[in-house]
Symmetry: C2
Subunit: 282 residues, 2 copies
Amino acid sequence: MRVVQTADDVRASLAMRRGVGAVGLVPTMGALHAGHERLIERARTDCQTVVVSIFVNPLQFDRADDLARYPRPFEADLAVCEKLGVDLVFAPSPEQMYPEPPDCAVRVGATAEHLCGAFRPGHFNGVATVVLKLFNIVQPDVAYFGEKDAQQLAIIRRMVADLNVPVRIAPVPTVREADGLALSSRNQLLNAAERALAPSLFRALTAAREAVAAGATDPKAVKQRAAEAIPADERLRLEYLELVDPWTFQPVETVTGPVVAAGALWVGRTRLIDNVLCTPPA
Amino acid sequence: MRVVQTADDVRASLAMRRGVGAVGLVPTMGALHAGHERLIERARTDCQTVVVSIFVNPLQFDRADDLARYPRPFEADLAVCEKLGVDLVFAPSPEQMYPEPPDCAVRVGATAEHLCGAFRPGHFNGVATVVLKLFNIVQPDVAYFGEKDAQQLAIIRRMVADLNVPVRIAPVPTVREADGLALSSRNQLLNAAERALAPSLFRALTAAREAVAAGATDPKAVKQRAAEAIPADERLRLEYLELVDPWTFQPVETVTGPVVAAGALWVGRTRLIDNVLCTPPA
């Protein structure tokens, strides 16, 4: 396994491998967990060459304290990559990715209007911009993204369509703990009491899914049912819970087909997100 | 020479040619003139495969009447490409390029703030977005741009740097008529009287260059000298004439090194642009 820091080294490392089977990219911010491992395993199965990028992207953080707190266990991350047979790790510094603030960047419109986009100004512009940069540096055939970050996945798919980006996007299902909590690098920021409260987000989304499956079509009623699954506790604050169209990520007015129920829950100082697909009865 | 309309057909047409020498792209809006011919000839000299795109990009027009008036002599354009040994012409319809309005697009910051960017809102976002789409569809090794559109060239270079786009940008000097008028597809919109007035823009820019070469350092004084070269005529209106930094395209406060003198002149209903590099005495 090779570990490089610059775009030039990525291109040089991959030069001999192009055209010899597919190149797969797993873009990460490090702090790798079993969800990331699932992405890497999928890439390892599909592709001749597997590249993992590890970069905590300052452009997508709207809060300096959140950026500072974000976990960065770099040596442990490399061990995970090594174990899973990754060929190349690209771990640039912020200065290498942004020698100066980018003057040309990707701007995301309506797909970033609601949910996380509404609560984290500029977040998805930063995500789309860094993902496009990583695609241009690595030039993968396929890139793997977790379904846990559903709005991010929708935006990346939209960017690929809108800008004719020659990369296939492969979504990978969310990995969960036994109690339903979606794996996230942020989970390690929770203390024991917060960890015990955290699965209530998934329980709320599951309640939404059950309500839709039982025939509820009014998003307000569905959201009410979901919110009831979150215990009254001062450490918990539901930032949003919405039913949105799976492609546009616009809130639906009536449930007439599959919708994504997506939520963000503050657990103490830590913000967790999750989502489930809800399908009305046939 | 092959002429195709879809991104899929471009990729299929080029599949066998990749890796066999370079692919060069000349992006155009058609109405090809000797300036475009110079671009195509450069590409033909440098590259194994030459692709010309012909697409009048609605996204970069801020005025519907300008878009409607823009010349589209498609058969003559194909004859020019054929004559110059172009391998592939990509001529998509607006619906093929934009099946729906793009939700993810390139946004240009400070480099688009002045000059044409100030007078044509959204213009350079549209230019950058369509150029990135064309790059992603054709995946050229090199792309050729005329120096006549200097701010556009600066923005494309900035986009390539900021987004790590794996394309080399090759600038090609402006081609001029004997009287100095820069070749432009818009020149054919001029009547005979307007055509006779049109070279005053280049004369103004030349006056700026001479003033800088003679040691003038105050942009205001230089611009004054330049403006004097434009005759008082009701058909002529100078939209802007600025001295800007060649990389950032920000107006300079004092001339301390090479600057670009760039101007836009309305001649009747037609807007012409031009620029020259000005170098102070050693």
